[in-house]
Symmetry: C2
C-alpha cells in the first residue's frame, strides 16, 4: 500500500481570488506582514499495490486525467509507503 | 522573506464527501486500485520578515486564527526561505 500526497496549485500567472480574500482577512486580523496567499488543493490518495513505481504511475495518471486542470494548474506528487489500511480507514506509516 | 507551506486536512474521524466523490470518479475512470481519497487545502503564504522563527510564529497564528478549524481539521506547516517577491508577485527559492 502506498500513499500519494498530491499538491495541486494554480499557476503563478493565474489570479487566485480565494487567496486574495484570505490575505485580506489576515490583514484585518492584524497579520500585516503576510504579503501574498495562494490556495490550492492537497489530495491524499491510497493506492493498493506493492510496487512503488506502479503507485507513482497511477497517481500521476489520476492527476493528469482528473485531479489537475493542465491549463491553469500544476501538480506536485510524493509517494510514501504505508501499511495496509486499518479498520477505521486510516493508514499507518511504515517505521 | 519566508514562504509558509500549510496543509490543512480533515481529521481522520471526519467524513470527507469530496474525497469519496473523487474516489468514485477515479474508479469510474478505471483506477480500481485507488483505495481511499482525502482532500484538504494547500495554502502558500509569503511572510515579509528576516527572522525564520517569527515567520513560523506568524504562520502558526494564521493557521490557528483563520486557516484551520480546530474542531475538524489538522494543519501541517513548513517554512522555507525565499528571495523577496519579484515584480510579477512570484517568489524565487534561495539556492
Amino acid at each position: 500500500m502506498f500513499k500519494a500526497n498530491v499538491e495541486v496549485t494554480l499557476r503563478a500567472s493565474i489570479l487566485d481570488p480565494q487567496g486574495k480574500a484570505v490575505q485580506h482577512a489576515l490583514h484585518n486580523l492584524g497579520f500585516a506582514s503576510v504579503d501574498k496567499v495562494r490556495i490550492g488543493k492537497h489530495i491524499e490518495m491510497w493506492v493498493d499495490t506493492d510496487d512503488e513505481r506502479e503507485a507513482r504511475a497511477i497517481a500521476k495518471q489520476a492527476c493528469i486525467k482528473l485531479l489537475a486542470n493542465p491549463v491553469m494548474e500544476d501538480y506536485h506528487l510524493e509517494i510514501e509507503a504505508v501499511e495496509t489500511s486499518m479498520a477505521d480507514g486510516s493508514a499507518v506509516k511504515k517505521p
